[in-house]
C-alpha cells in the first residue's frame, strides 16, 4: 500500500469532519426538542398519544435514506410549494438532510424518554407522596433523576447511531466525511483504502463518545463512592 497516498488521504477526509459533527449535534438537539414535544403530546390527551404513536411508527418503520429522499425530492412535485417562501430552504440538501435526521432521531429519542419516565418504581413514587412531596418536587427530585439514569445507556447508543447516520447525508451531495470519501473513490478508484480510512475516523469518534457516556454513567451510578468518602480516605 502506498503510504503517501494514505498520508494525503487523512487530512482530505478530516476536512469533512466539521460537517459530520455539525449534522450530528444539530440533529440530536432538534430531535431532542421534538422528542420532548412528542412526550408532552402523549401526556396531553388520548388523541395526542395516538398521533405520537403514529409518528414513531412512521419514522421507525421505514428507512432513513427513504425519509431523506422524500423530504429532498417530494416537495418539488407541488407547484404551491415551489412558489412559496420555504422553497429556497427545501431546495437545499443540507436543510433536507438535517430535517430528516432530526425527525428520525426524534422518533427514537421519544421512546427512550418514555421508557425512562416509566422507570421510577411505584414504591419510590409512593414514598415521595407519603413523604409529602408536591407533584413538582416529586418530578424534580425522584422521577427525573431516575429517568435520566435509566435512559442514559440507550441514549448513548442513540448518539453514536446518529453520528453514523449522518453519513447518509452524503447521498444528497453533502460533503461530510463519507461524501468526501465517495468523491475521492470516484477519482482514484481506490475504494478499499479510502473507505477503510473513513471507517477508522468514524470508529474513533464512536469509541470516544461511548467512552464519554460510560464515564458519565459511572459517575451517576448509585454505587459510586461518594466524593466526601473519597476525599476522607
Amino acid at each position: 500500500m502506498d503510504i503517501h497516498f494514505l498520508l494525503g488521504l487523512i487530512p482530505t477526509l478530516l476536512s469533512g469532519l466539521p460537517l459530520t459533527l455539525e449534522l450530528t449535534v444539530f440533529s440530536l438537539l432538534g430531535g431532542g426538542v421534538i422528542a420532548l414535544l412528542l412526550n408532552g403530546l402523549r401526556a396531553g390527551s388520548i388523541v395526542g398519544a395516538r398521533v405520537a404513536d403514529f409518528y414513531v411508527f412512521l419514522f421507525r418503520g421505514s428507512p432513513l435514506l427513504l425519509q431523506i429522499f422524500l423530504i429532498y425530492y417530494a416537495p418539488g412535485q407541488f407547484s404551491f410549494i415551489r412558489h412559496s417562501f420555504v422553497w429556497p430552504f427545501l431546495r437545499e440538501p443540507y436543510v433536507c438532510a438535517l430535517l430528516a435526521l432530526m425527525l428520525n432521531d426524534a422518533a427514537y429519542t421519544s421512546e427512550i424518554i418514555r421508557a425512562g419516565l416509566r422507570a421510577a418504581p411505584r414504591g419510590a413514587i409512593e414514598a415521595a407522596v407519603v413523604g409529602g412531596m408536591s407533584p413538582l418536587t416529586r418530578l424534580r427530585r425522584v422521577i427525573l433523576p431516575l429517568a435520566f439514569r435509566q435512559a442514559l445507556p440507550a441514549y448513548g447508543i442513540e448518539i453514536t447511531g446518529m453520528l453514523k447516520s449522518t453519513s447518509l447525508a452524503s447521498v444528497v451531495t453533502l460533503m461530510d466525511v463519507t461524501g468526501i470519501a465517495s468523491a475521492e473513490v470516484s477519482q482514484t478508484y481506490r475504494a478499499i483504502e479510502v473507505f477503510l480510512t473513513a471507517a477508522v475516523i468514524y470508529l474513533v469518534l464512536v469509541t470516544l463518545v461511548t467512552y464519554g457516556v460510560q464515564r458519565l454513567e459511572g459517575w451517576l451510578s448509585p454505587t459510586r463512592t461518594p466524593l466526601s468518602a473519597r476525599s476522607a480516605a
Binding site: R60, L66, Y73, Q77, K164, Y189, A191, F195, L203
Partner: protein, 240 residues
C-alpha cells in the same frame, strides 16, 4: 393527483408489478442478511461465552468495529472494495477493465455482518438468562453438548431472544435500502426510478415508505405471534 394513483396499480401503465418485485427483492436481501447474521451471531455468542481466548478476543473486536462504522460505509467497502479486488485479481489473469460483482451478494454480506454483531449480543443475553441449574441438571443426566443445546438451551433461550431478534430483523430491512447504492433494484431503488421517470417524486417516495411500513409491521406481527406462543408454552400462568 388522485389520477396518479393508478400509476401505483398493476395495470398496463402501473408500476405495481415492478414495485412488488422490488419489495420481494428487499425481503430476499434482508432475509439472506438476517440468516447470515444469525449464523455469525450464534458463533460469536458461543465464542464470547465459552470460546478459547483468541476467538473470544476476535469476536469482541468484530463487535466493536461493526458497531462503530456507518452501515453505508460497510456496504461501500464490500461493493466497491469487492469490485476493486475482483478487478485486480482479474487483471493478474490478463483481463482488462472493471469487473462487476453482485450488488445482492455484497449487500447481503455487508448487512449480514452488521446484523451479526447485533445478534451476538441478543443471543448472548438470552443464554445468560437461562438458570444455570437447569444446565447442571442436564449435565448430570449425561447429555452430550449437542443434545443439551438442542433440548435444553435453544428452547429456553429462544423466547427470550425473540424480541431482540425481531429488532435485528427490522434493522436489516431498513438497512437493505442502502443496498440501492449498488444499483440493485430493490424497493428504494425502484421508487427512485419511478419517481424520476414519472416526475412524481412525492407519490412514489411516499409509496416506498408505505411498502416498508407494510413489510416491517407484517413481519413484526409474525415475530410477536411466535413470541406469544413461546411464552405461552413456558409460563402459562402469566400468559393466560
Amino acid at each position: 393527483m388522485w389520477d396518479d394513483l393508478t400509476l401505483l396499480g398493476f395495470g398496463a401503465m402501473g408500476w405495481g408489478h415492478a414495485l412488488f418485485t422490488a419489495a420481494t427483492t428487499t425481503v430476499a436481501v434482508s432475509a439472506c442478511a438476517f440468516a447470515l447474521g444469525l449464523a455469525i451471531g450464534t458463533l460469536c455468542a458461543w465464542a464470547k461465552l465459552s470460546g478459547p481466548a483468541p476467538l473470544r478476543r476476535l469476536a469482541e473486536v468484530y463487535g466493536v468495529v461493526l458497531r462503530g462504522i456507518p452501515d453505508l460505509l460497510v456496504i461501500y467497502l464490500f461493493y466497491f472494495g469487492g469490485r476493486q479486488v475482483a478487478t485486480t485479481v482479474a487483471g493478474l489473469f490478463g483481463h482488462h477493465g472493471p469487473v462487476e460483482i453482485s450488488g445482492f451478494a455484497a449487500g447481503a454480506i455487508a448487512i449480514g455482518l452488521i446484523s451479526g454483531a447485533g445478534q451476538t449480543e441478543v443471543l448472548r443475553g438470552a443464554y445468560q438468562a437461562i438458570s444455570p441449574g437447569t444446565l447442571e441438571a442436564a449435565k448430570v443426566g449425561g447429555m452430550t453438548r449437542w443434545t443439551m443445546f438442542r433440548r435444553i438451551i435453544a428452547p429456553q433461550a429462544l423466547p427470550t431472544a425473540l424480541p431482540g431478534l425481531n429488532n435485528q430483523w427490522q434493522s436489516a430491512i431498513k438497512e437493505s435500502a442502502l443496498v440501492s447504492v449498488t444499483g440493485l433494484v430493490e424497493t428504494m431503488r425502484e421508487v427512485g426510478i419511478a419517481a424520476g421517470s414519472t416526475e412524481l417524486p412525492f407519490l412514489f417516495y411516499a409509496a416506498g415508505i408505505v411498502i416498508y411500513l407494510i413489510i416491517t409491521s407484517l413481519s413484526g406481527l409474525v415475530f410477536r405471534t411466535a413470541e406469544w406462543r413461546a411464552m405461552r408454552s413456558q409460563m402459562p400462568a402469566r400468559a393466560r
